[in-house]
């Protein structure tokens, strides 16, 4: 079974960075990609992120599920934008270079195609870095890093526990589903949708009840060991920043500045060469 939030343990310079660094870098990077539609920046980011991917020793097949999922999403996003506002590019860039007529008052324009190119580049700018973060950061280090940047540790820990229990819940779902199928509950596409929804409840009800019970036990176990006693806590997994951490953060900060700088230089978030 594929686990969506899958930490993959490898030895690499990316893994060696602290969770906090990676989290800060992720935020800076995402902002850098978000604030601008400057195609040069958006083309640069994927290139850098592919290099980082190479460094991390994460292989394509490790993350295939997440990759396919986001690619499907990206295609859908583009198709929908095109269908519902084929003239959106023209509005953004303020010019209209028609290629051919589509329907009604709508034309296929160079601006629209340029906009879509930028949209795709945006996906490629952010997606690899998010996947990289997920697959190279241990959930508990993630919690520690959330805490480090000011999130309350109880919340940070809840997030990491949730991540930690996803595989357990997946396994349990699988087991319950098999046992219910053995009792004759059809879960495959042979059944109509109403029946399948009903069948799903036969799995979800025990699953939810089991999870609630588990939460009860884990709450007790945590309280018995002093969780929530102090306003602060330390972390076994927390590490001191190294030179690599500082450099990484400066690098990502520079990317964000560059991105903002380009917006100011262009005088707008959008940029398009003159054809």
């Amino acid at each position: 079974m594929t686990n969506i939030f899958n930490y993959i343990d490898r030895k690499s310079p990316i893994h060696n960075l602290t969770g906090a660094t990676k989290f800060v870098c992720l935020l800076l990077w995402s902002f850098a990609a978000m604030v601008t539609f400057d195609t040069k920046i958006l083309a640069l980011l994927p290139v850098v992120s592919f290099i980082l991917f190479g460094l991390s020793k994460i292989k394509l097949k490790d993350i295939s599920f997440l990759l396919v999922f986001t690619l499907v999403f990206m295609v859908m996003n583009n198709v929908l934008v095109f269908l519902f506002s084929p003239m959106h590019g023209t509005e953004l860039y303020g010019s209209c270079t028609e290629i051919c007529k589509l329907w009604g008052n709508n034309y296929l324009t160079v601006e629209q195609l340029w906009y879509h190119l930028n949209l795709v580049l945006k996906y490629f700018s952010t997606m690899p870095i998010v996947i990289l973060f997920i697959s190279t950061t241990e959930p508990s280090e993630f919690a520690a890093s959330l805490n480090k940047i000011g999130v309350k540790y109880t919340i940070a820990y809840a997030v990491s526990l949730a991540l930690r229990y996803i595989p357990d819940v997946q396994r349990e779902y699988h087991e319950i589903s098999l046992a219910q199928q053995a009792r004759g509950i059809e879960m495959s596409s042979k059944e109509n949708i109403v029946k399948r929804l009903k069948s799903a409840s036969a799995i979800l009800i025990p699953l939810v009840l089991q999870s609630l019970e588990r939460i009860d036990v884990i709450t007790n176990a945590m309280e018995l060991r002093g969780f929530g006693k102090n306003r602060k806590r330390t972390w076994y997994r927390s590490r001191k920043f190294t030179k690599a951490d500082i450099i990484s953060m400066i690098f990502c900060g520079a990317l964000l500045l560059l991105s903002i700088g380009m917006n100011i230089y262009n005088g707008s978030r959008f940029w398009m060469p003159h054809f």
């Binding site: 009792r183 004759g184 018995l224």
Partner: protein, 570 residues
Amino acid sequence: MIKFEHFSFKYTAQADYTLRDINLTINDGEKVLIIGPSGCGKSTLLNCINGLVPFSYDGTIEGSLTVDGKETKDLSIFELSKIVGTVLQDSDAQFVGLTVAEDIAFALENDCIPTEELKRRVKEIAKLVNIESHLEHAPTDISGGQKQRVSLAGVMIDDVKVLLFDEPLANLDPETGKTAIELIDSIHKDTGVTEIIIEHRLEDVLWRDVDRIVLMGDGKIVLDTTPDELLSSDALIKHGIREPLYITALKYAGVEITPSMLPHSIDTITLTDEDIAKVKEWYLKTETEKEEEKEVLLQVRDIDFTYKNDRNGASVHHALDHISFDVMKGELLAIVGRNGAGKSTFSKALCGFERIDSGKFIFKGEDMAPLSIKERADRIGYVMQNPNQMISKVQIFDEVALGLRTRNVPEDEVERRVNDTLKICGLWEFRNWPVSALSYGQKKRVTIASILVLEPEMIILDEPTAGQDYYHYTEIMNFLEEINSRGVTIVLITHDMHLMLEYATRGIVFADSKVIKDSTSYDILTDRDVISRASLKETSLYNLALKCGLNDTKGFVEHFISFERRVRND
């Protein structure tokens, strides 16, 4: 020192008091075992000491409970956790950290101890419980026994004065359980910490000495005495606790047990020549039953299966290695072996949950390979270990009817068949009750009923009695025996020795993905080689036979089983 004085407790949600007028003193450095049937209040007692009552479980407290001279009502759960450490029953759910090291460090992290010191302390404690080579392992990568040691380390790191163990043996196979008891004992000896153990598997705990045993029943303390005194009384039977088997055998033989015989362990008990003569006489006059020939129901032929872990594609586990054996029609068969030996994988492969690589399951002459999960389920029913994983309807009747309704059986027939099944299962009076009102044992019955109603010829049950006290255990097993006598073939997957010994006619032993023995239960439990390879534990009857100079240990165990079955059926 822990001192209860006229202590009573009532949960807010309940009408009656769970603990009533408890007077109990546990001195520093003592090792005390608390036993009693399910629902007698022993877990509540434990939760009063560690502070979960009243901090997590609301209720009314009367009287006084002091720990270390301080009234617990005046302490917070956090202050108490510095004095009292609790190892919960479910060490799986108790595992908070992502790795062993983090879990052990958890309490100190909450105390804001700097990271460098955390690492040092974790190493130190891990060594004490012998888990230091697994510090970077995730909870999914270690065994049940190892998880328990991690839990223990996780509370010991706080330098507590009192350790509480809530049913430490519940999820362990016999061999691992033995090791756990040894570890608990050595920690007691090495650190001088006070230990309180709750458990109903008396014989297994007594593998190592305890200072005192407190017997609880119905919210009260019934008896507070030494193991020798307790075993010489008839209080155990009266309160639904199983006696050690050697004690039962001696009593059957007419030997009177007295404290001076030191009956707390088969190694210490002294028997006079007269006692030995009585045992021999009993052995000779007990007749064994002849097994009748039975026809084959299921042929398991050369089943091979390997788990291919898709993650990284690297880890491959050969879970079933050319498994072959027969299941006879109408028998009650036990599949035993340590956790991870392949027992559960086998049942999943049989039910069609996993696709086998090679081999055949032949059910009544028919190859099951082309059958779907649903079609297999019409022949072989599968009951999961945890009934809460199976129950999805609010009312008992609907739950049992579920399988029939999805098979589009006409409603009048559904009604007839469900009612019949409920009557067999002793659930008919409850048919309109909500499932949530039932006890664990009753829920188990509901899940068995919901399989039975589909009229399979064979049922597989995964650990049917796990976590049950003797009373409920007997209840479930007698029920299964009754179904069995109606002609349903029953296969039990278990690591409970008693269960196999007492109820199963035959056992299949799994070890390292292979079948290493296929024989009668008494033959298996007196075979030292098989016992050690499968992490089983030899029965104390074996040692009793040797002690009485009987060399035919197998025969002795066989005679005991026959005698016991007759006693039970009368």
